[in-house]
Symmetry: D3
Subunit: 162 residues, 6 copies
Amino acid sequence: MSEERPALSHIDPSGAANMVDVGDKAVTDRIAVAEGRVVMEEATLALIESGNAKKGDVIGTARLAGIMAAKRTHELIPLCHALLLSKVAVEIEPDAGLPGLKVRATVRTTGQTGVEMEALTAVSVACLTIYDMAKAVDRGMRIEAIRLVEKDGGRSGHWQAA
Amino acid sequence: MSEERPALSHIDPSGAANMVDVGDKAVTDRIAVAEGRVVMEEATLALIESGNAKKGDVIGTARLAGIMAAKRTHELIPLCHALLLSKVAVEIEPDAGLPGLKVRATVRTTGQTGVEMEALTAVSVACLTIYDMAKAVDRGMRIEAIRLVEKDGGRSGHWQAA
Amino acid sequence: MSEERPALSHIDPSGAANMVDVGDKAVTDRIAVAEGRVVMEEATLALIESGNAKKGDVIGTARLAGIMAAKRTHELIPLCHALLLSKVAVEIEPDAGLPGLKVRATVRTTGQTGVEMEALTAVSVACLTIYDMAKAVDRGMRIEAIRLVEKDGGRSGHWQAA
Amino acid sequence: MSEERPALSHIDPSGAANMVDVGDKAVTDRIAVAEGRVVMEEATLALIESGNAKKGDVIGTARLAGIMAAKRTHELIPLCHALLLSKVAVEIEPDAGLPGLKVRATVRTTGQTGVEMEALTAVSVACLTIYDMAKAVDRGMRIEAIRLVEKDGGRSGHWQAA
Amino acid sequence: MSEERPALSHIDPSGAANMVDVGDKAVTDRIAVAEGRVVMEEATLALIESGNAKKGDVIGTARLAGIMAAKRTHELIPLCHALLLSKVAVEIEPDAGLPGLKVRATVRTTGQTGVEMEALTAVSVACLTIYDMAKAVDRGMRIEAIRLVEKDGGRSGHWQAA
Amino acid sequence: MSEERPALSHIDPSGAANMVDVGDKAVTDRIAVAEGRVVMEEATLALIESGNAKKGDVIGTARLAGIMAAKRTHELIPLCHALLLSKVAVEIEPDAGLPGLKVRATVRTTGQTGVEMEALTAVSVACLTIYDMAKAVDRGMRIEAIRLVEKDGGRSGHWQAA
């Protein structure tokens, strides 16, 4: 790769996709926060919220699914390293303005590589679970705006989305 | 649940989340198509495309990740039934207008329940893999517009997104 | 094996453990129900119930863990066949008399072999999850009386625990 | 939470179930020992022991199933952290007094959180495997008295069951 | 693809790797048999055989590992379909002439696609497990001659290795 | 065990298979390199190479399958410890002399036990994936000569195959 442009880190000089060698990176505290949302019909949100007021099940189920998926990120993303996560938290909140649910995941580790993919995977699977549980009443829901909002730790230090 | 409003299918009358019993549903051919996209900087897309022209690795890796994830959907989505998928296809195409990559998954089975979640999971994990492989050059990428575009088979017949 | 005594079905004539060949068994509707309980201190149950009254999380989390584990039974039990489960339901109820929580799982399939192991695995993992979530306050909890209570379908027909 | 009563560690102040953050806990040697038993008819135990005298397969299979399950505890128990286990040992012994088999698992790690759940999961899955391999001759077996018997390491130090 | 030469079934006309669509294939009984061997020093074989005469553990452990791996073939081989296996049997026998162990796996299903990969995966993982358990005394062992020896069922009918 | 002969490390004094306790081993940098090959008909190799020249899919798919399998070695090999791999690289090259493909995997970690099994598993699953993708045109392919070629780190230091 020329010096003028950045390289795709997983593509080696021969062009083959391989895991990046993180063996010489420092072991540091690392954190990542990701967000996403499920946009739905107003009536669908009302149904989830009313169910939730009573029993909490759609939101509670999606939160657990996101947490569990974060722990399996390296099985899903081919070139992602396994990490021991010291914390995974998923928050899901209704937003009448969408209308829909906003999902936010925070993941923490002490290790040689970051946890962005774990946070993004937690958000994605939580959103998919919301879709699954409400699809019988609203097949047209959309998962939107999944993105990294903040990361810290490692060589690149602190980063925050614009 | 009253007759006036639709019910969340995974919430039983006591309000607990459980798998829907599909044991009495007909075994029919079922197909689902889902889409999504990863929006990125123009330079990131150029980098992926140039790598891809030579070796195909970002797009090829994401396609495989999506296919493999579809087979494990029932492990990720708590109340989703396991199914034997007869086909999973993932297509990924650059779109200069985004700029970014568009992902489309088609899943087929013969069974008692639909494959929407498998198609949506394939798209989500393919998008996450693209993010993973390009994040070293563009941390601000966003995964957008993951949605079901078509389904067929089962009691509800053919459905197409507006 | 002699005719005088029953055989262990997974041990072949040479004494080696292998999967039973179910390829010639009939495809029938099959159901199994299993039960178990977690016995704890009275104060622990009160804590779970009060948390549960408000948010449902210990019981809800254990129920989901049991359902998800049922789908992976064949990965855990070495000689168990994979099956497509059409229903998994887990019910968890407080029992002041123990004191503790009673767990009951019902699993249904249409296939060539029964779902006893899936029901027992759902109960076991739900009980383990209850232990996990309450262990910070009560390390001495015990998981008791995990057993099959009913099964139906297949050559042996209906069976009910005494 | 008030100071007067202990808190369920996985329930955050808002009542949502989340993984406990162990990122600030010390990395120490940790060990846990758990036990359980499968109670069966005398004839069933005799059959397992006679098979075992010759080939060892029921007990050997259950021991391996327990060991392998311990390594996957964090996939089964939703809020459990992944850990690198440095040792898993499972011992299974006949007990004519039950009659049945007694199962004991010892798990060791160096990490930020304990291995109680890994030891309890090893015992549970070993017991389930015994049930699976003997169920053709004795459907009424019961899994009993799964409990933690000892733990060491971490802030709470040494603990032994009464 | 031209008519003069056969096509790689997983590569679609655009050159992308995708799962073959088996949805229109007949559901038939299918069987596959695969073999392989681990070649080792004479003393290593003697050690395994002596251990085996007493407790059977190397061979018994490898046999179980092969059986369990067969059930997860579709997770390992990216474009392989999930199947419900009705039988998996693994036989392992010492062969003084190699010297080493010969491994043979037989897999059976009723489905829309063959079980060659399941049989080959069972053999491969059984061989890897033998290597793992004996590597402390013989690092130079080699896994040799893994191949399909027979298959039956499906459109191509019966096939036997030369 | 007597002092005159080496012991199988996974068999404890009672003859039972258990995980070796690595808790007291030093944490060191460890690396392992393994190799293997798939021998096929000349025409099959030509087909793969021509496909590969254009799109890279057989070789690219096998490489990813090997990398992903390395991360799951401890799930497949019963007595293998989980490790956090800092690098997995798989290289696959055509060899007209076989004719066939040569596969080489390099795995690196910092931990208490070696990564030989991870490297051998990566090679095995890459070979199986090549078989899967080419089996429609050449059922007689053989996987040959899977072996460890080099290891470094840990008490035994550097080792290289003869």
